[in-house]
Amino acid sequence: MREDAVLEAQNLVKTYGKGDSLFTALGGIDLTIRQGEKVAIIGKSGSGKSTLMHLLALLDKPTSGAVFVEGQDAAKLKNGQLGHLRGQKFGFVFQQFFLNGHASVLENVILPLKIAGVGRAERKRRALEALKQVELDDKAKNKAKDLSGGQKQRVVIARAIVGNPSVIFADEPTGNLDTATGQRIEDLLFSLNANQGITLIVVTHDADLAARCDRQIHIQDGRIVDHPEPPAATREPKAPEPAPDQPDAPQPPRRPTPRPRRKVHL
């Protein structure tokens, strides 16, 4: 295991159903994601890319295989500890926002801190800080339902970063937004990566968004079919081996300007 690996997946398998109706959503995924990387998980709908993200984010349990978070085997944690780890290390940005429309913007951003048991004054301060980062501190008292789509997604991002996560999982973050607003959200996410070194894992089928990441993991029928970086050599995806050996992979770049990568056509 690499020193700077924030997430490591070993031979992840996820199946649904039994017998004849057995469906393999993921058929053995090996993956290492280093701190500060920008990774895009791309693939068609039904390819298993969301399943992979859910497993990496500890939102779901694999049928077999293991996920290590900073070297810790998630399977060895109890439910409560798992939730705690998830709350501490991860932030989530969802396509459908999942905001409580009747609560204020501030209340929505405070929620993760409330769950974590942070004190009243402290959590308000931190939530306002997070809102400032997404330039929505003036809307703190508005109800979430009164915001525009782009503003909602910015609230979601504020909610994702308020707990100082090391990884942000973004599931189609721009899926519900028009191009210009989507662009702004992308910029915001990438600036968080550039300025704070937050690892970004984006699930998308938007090739342009994927191209802005350091690395694209192309999922097809539950397997990685195109794994360009790092290392450069593409491994045989069907081999259910442990983590691929990645001896001298370059440090994850923390450049604000994305390096164009090989585009993946679906």
């Binding site: 939102l59 779901d60 439910n79 998830r86 999942f98 929620l111 409330k114 769950i115 048991g117």
Partner: protein, 386 residues
């Protein structure tokens, strides 16, 4: 999530769907209202009865405490009288007499108990006779005399005179019998016995036995021994006890109905919570994704259930106390006027608190099923839920 935040969240969640919450609380309200009223009724009546029993013996216990077992047995003679009359000869009334038992204790409106050790012919008159016999107030009646018409074995009617020593207050227990002392009783019987075959005089309907009433073990033994000899031993407490048992039975049935209402309300809670969990599936998923443990999710929804129960029962009990106080006043001033000291509905803080706690417990139980369901939800299923 801290407990206070959990409580605040549960509380605010409760008011998200106001109409549904209101309806559920109303269902609980009805149950709690009924239960508070019925327990209040039970407490009121049983306290009244207890007071009647308390009046018996408390003082006399000391007197007989030193006695081991039965000290003495005296015949409990009865006599039948044709009528009772006071100074106004036109006002003759049928009446029954029951010997006054030393050690009995009744609420007296005036005067004192008849003295069984005295040679004076004394009696205790229920207050209901005062007006009938034209005796005026209770105070003025004490010391006056009444006459009993008695027919002897030869068919000849004689009048026996007795002095009123005390006026018995109206009571559920004491009844309407006139209670002569031993001396008057003996006289009545003697007059009645004239011309009757001797054996009739020897037959007694009951006997009084004295024993140490504080020693319940011994009392039980005495009763058992009596039973072996095919007699029935019954204390005044037993008599009131059987009366009380009937009342308690009725109250239990009423409480049963109230509990059925609460049971229905419990299903209302289950329904409300299930719907609310359904609606908030995504939110639960989100909270789990953000690290909320299943235990806390369970607590959150249980608390919501308990809060529904709390508000419903609090409002229900308060309404019951309000309505009960008004009804109490009306009833006591009208048809239960004669039962001095009766509080038909008695609400003690303990019983009201027990009702609220019971309802909260029922609510918690009703909430467990939906709460477990919420706690078990897989975050990812919840997030995908449409």
């Amino acid at each position: 999530m801290k407990l206070f935040d959990l409580l605040a969240t549960a509380s605010s969640n409760m008011f998200r769907s106001k109409l549904r919450t209101l309806l559920t609380i109303t269902a609980i309200f009805i149950g709690a209202f009924t239960l508070t009223i019925t327990t209040g009724l039970g407490l009121g009546v049983s306290q009244y009865l207890d007071r009647q029993v308390d009046a018996f013996g408390a003082k006399d216990l000391d007197k007989i405490r030193e006695i081991d077992g039965i000290k003495s047995v005296a015949a409990y003679h009865n006599a039948s009288i044709d009528y009772v009359v006071a100074s106004d000869p036109d006002k003759k009334y049928q009446a029954s007499v029951t010997p006054f038992l030393t050690g009995s204790n009744f609420s007296l409106d005036a005067g004192r108990y008849p003295d069984n050790d005295s040679k004076d012919l004394e009696l205790m008159l229920p207050s209901t006779y005062l007006e009938l016999l034209g005796l005026g107030s209770a105070e003025s009646a004490v010391g006056k005399t009444v006459k009993f018409g008695v027919t002897n074995g030869l068919g000849k009617r004689t009048e026996v005179e007795g002095k009123i020593s005390g006026i018995l207050g109206a009571s559920l227990v004491a009844g309407t019998s006139i209670s002569p002392n031993d001396a008057l009783m003996t006289r009545l019987r003697a007059v009645q016995a004239v011309g009757q075959p001797p054996v009739a005089g020897e037959v007694v309907q009951a006997a009084t036995a004295r024993f140490d009433a504080a020693d319940t073990e011994k009392l039980k033994k005495i009763k058992e021994d009596l039973k072996k000899l095919q007699y029935e031993g019954m204390t005044v407490e037993d008599q009131i006890g059987s009366f009380k048992a009937v009342i308690n039975g009725m109250i239990a049935v009423l409480n049963g109905f109230a509990l059925i209402a609460l049971l229905a309300a419990g299903f209302g809670i289950i329904n409300t919570l299930l719907m609310s969990i359904q609606e908030r599936t995504k939110e639960i998923g989100l909270m789990k994704a953000m690290g909320m443990s299943p235990k806390r999710i369970f607590l959150l929804f249980s608390m919501e259930a308990v809060m529904l129960g709390f508000w419903g029962s609090l409002l229900g009990s308060l309404a019951a106390i309000g309505v009960g106080t008004v009804v109490n006043k009306l009833v006591i001033e009208s048809f239960l006027k004669d039962l001095v000291g009766l509080q038909l509905l008695t609400f003690s803080p303990v019983s009201v608190a027990s009702v609220i706690l019971l309802v909260m417990a029922i609510s918690f139980l009703a909430g467990t099923m939906p709460a477990i369901r919420a706690a078990r939800k897989n975050p990812i299923d919840s997030l995908r839920y449409e």
